[in-house]
Symmetry: D2
Subunit: 192 residues, 4 copies
Amino acid sequence: MKPAIIVVDMVKDTFKEGSRLPITQEGRSILSNLRTLLKESRQKGFPVIFANDSFMKGDFIFNGKMKSHSIRGTEGAEVIADLHPEPTDIILPKRRFSAFFKTDLDQTLRVMGVDTIVVAGITVEVCVLMTVMDGLCHDFSAILLEDCTASKNKEMHRACLSLYRDFALFPLLRVMSLEDFLKETAPSAGKA
Amino acid sequence: MKPAIIVVDMVKDTFKEGSRLPITQEGRSILSNLRTLLKESRQKGFPVIFANDSFMKGDFIFNGKMKSHSIRGTEGAEVIADLHPEPTDIILPKRRFSAFFKTDLDQTLRVMGVDTIVVAGITVEVCVLMTVMDGLCHDFSAILLEDCTASKNKEMHRACLSLYRDFALFPLLRVMSLEDFLKETAPSAGKA
Amino acid sequence: MKPAIIVVDMVKDTFKEGSRLPITQEGRSILSNLRTLLKESRQKGFPVIFANDSFMKGDFIFNGKMKSHSIRGTEGAEVIADLHPEPTDIILPKRRFSAFFKTDLDQTLRVMGVDTIVVAGITVEVCVLMTVMDGLCHDFSAILLEDCTASKNKEMHRACLSLYRDFALFPLLRVMSLEDFLKETAPSAGKA
Amino acid sequence: MKPAIIVVDMVKDTFKEGSRLPITQEGRSILSNLRTLLKESRQKGFPVIFANDSFMKGDFIFNGKMKSHSIRGTEGAEVIADLHPEPTDIILPKRRFSAFFKTDLDQTLRVMGVDTIVVAGITVEVCVLMTVMDGLCHDFSAILLEDCTASKNKEMHRACLSLYRDFALFPLLRVMSLEDFLKETAPSAGKA
């Protein structure tokens, strides 16, 4: 396995102090795991990609009840300080849900020799899931890290994961725990 | 509303006689509603698009447990006779889950003046959902017709829909019944 | 080299009897070479793809002086009888100039193990050139076959080729004669 | 006309002191016109987009004779100081030739209400031309500014333009002088 880590939408606008959005609380609960994931992945030399909402003011996406946020070029669309990206990480602004939508991520991953995307972040049933699925669309295996993803409540998180645990394309898509992922990619583990 | 109807993956390979796949049984249970949807939509002049799995032999997608099916150019990748497409319908072969993935559907819809995609078919948590979400990505409103979609069992169908009923972008995405959709688009209904 | 042959826009609407378009005359002058290319390529097992204009009525592209033609679903958008596609060839309808634009050709070529596209057909400075360039964009080497392509006059054909003979990315892009291509891919030729 | 200005590949690596590349000399000869274009366009409220080569080390594109340059994240991939982008301009890194290739520029332009792209920069027969053509592909009219574009010599510049002056889709694509473009968009000019 040649994995790349994709951390989705852990941006300042969602985690600003005083935010009472349910996703903010749930998102905070995975920060510790995300830090472990990033630390161990960098040690193993896995590429790290932060895929961040990067919306235009006046975009179609704000025609519904969702309020304007994560605007392109503003601080709110940056990765939160808690996860401080390293200079070698890739910051990938995205227009919509999936990290692949109208970006060149597929080619970037191929240049890097990646065969598996490992997706973490929020929210699991939208941007995380769409990134996972688009990874499969672009011929990458995908791992959805269950304890490194969140939704606006634990019930929705659980419901979403349950839909994809026994996926028709398994094991091209796997729902895994952080611990299992780290074990499988440990230097001592058998090579696939 | 200027809707187009997208019927996903109602193809012969999935519905062939003797198939014991759970999705076959569940898929059959929505045929009557799909026929109503198509009949009424054509009467109202809504474009109808059949988006069909159209896979290559040896494709990445068959590297997991999913068996080869709906192969490009074979009869198995055609729309089932029960839904007999009309000459004015669009048959859209698709390589992956979403009807928009590496197709020109977005431009086709814009040429037709469509502003809303109405998605039906199987399976709700994969190809239907990805089509719905990609519709939003391409600046179309989306309606997921709950009683014109199916999954491999009713529990998964219900679980999937529950994730998107109260969607952050509502009403850009709505989960609706066939009846409500037909009411809303009835000639006598107020025009949006 | 693992080449695939892409024949661009040799469709019935352009070659119908009585057409007095300059491109019709020039296009006819390469038919003999195209037949040789196809025959030899099939013998060598190279995939053959016919990329055909497939426009929608009312499309943006007809807002200028270009008349409506090669309409999706009509006979006029089919490959001319002179080049009679074989059942194993790929017929690829395209919305615009390049065979890659909003199609899944890049993935198709990768599944087939192709590393080089060999482009023929008309017109050299538009659809042929855009296909060549998009091939490079998708990480395929490209060969533009000078005597299997045409423009509306020989001067434009020559002028176009002269722009790319000494290309900055050479030899990722090469302008070649049919003879040289066939020699290079002859069974007795040294393997690259 | 609701134009947006796209300035292609005027980046530091190509214009660094001491560069003896022919394109450097030719590129410098259009700087004065580019400054006029930008100044007048900003006064008229036209969006300005700098589309810059942004390559990955080890990319396919460097497998030919082209040397590594304009690497993503380096200063060499930034717009030259002579053209000093304004904070409201859009800086669009691009992986390949066209500003539209695997970017979200098409949607950005639609959100801004743009109907015409006005393309300037280098080199005319590659990145400028591919951007122009991709604009047409995405349903935008396109203007290629003859005296705001350059190639590695004047002969190639002239030869390239001559291919597209009498384009089949005219006037969806027009080759124009800066003066004519400014006249046509002058406040006193008749509105199209």
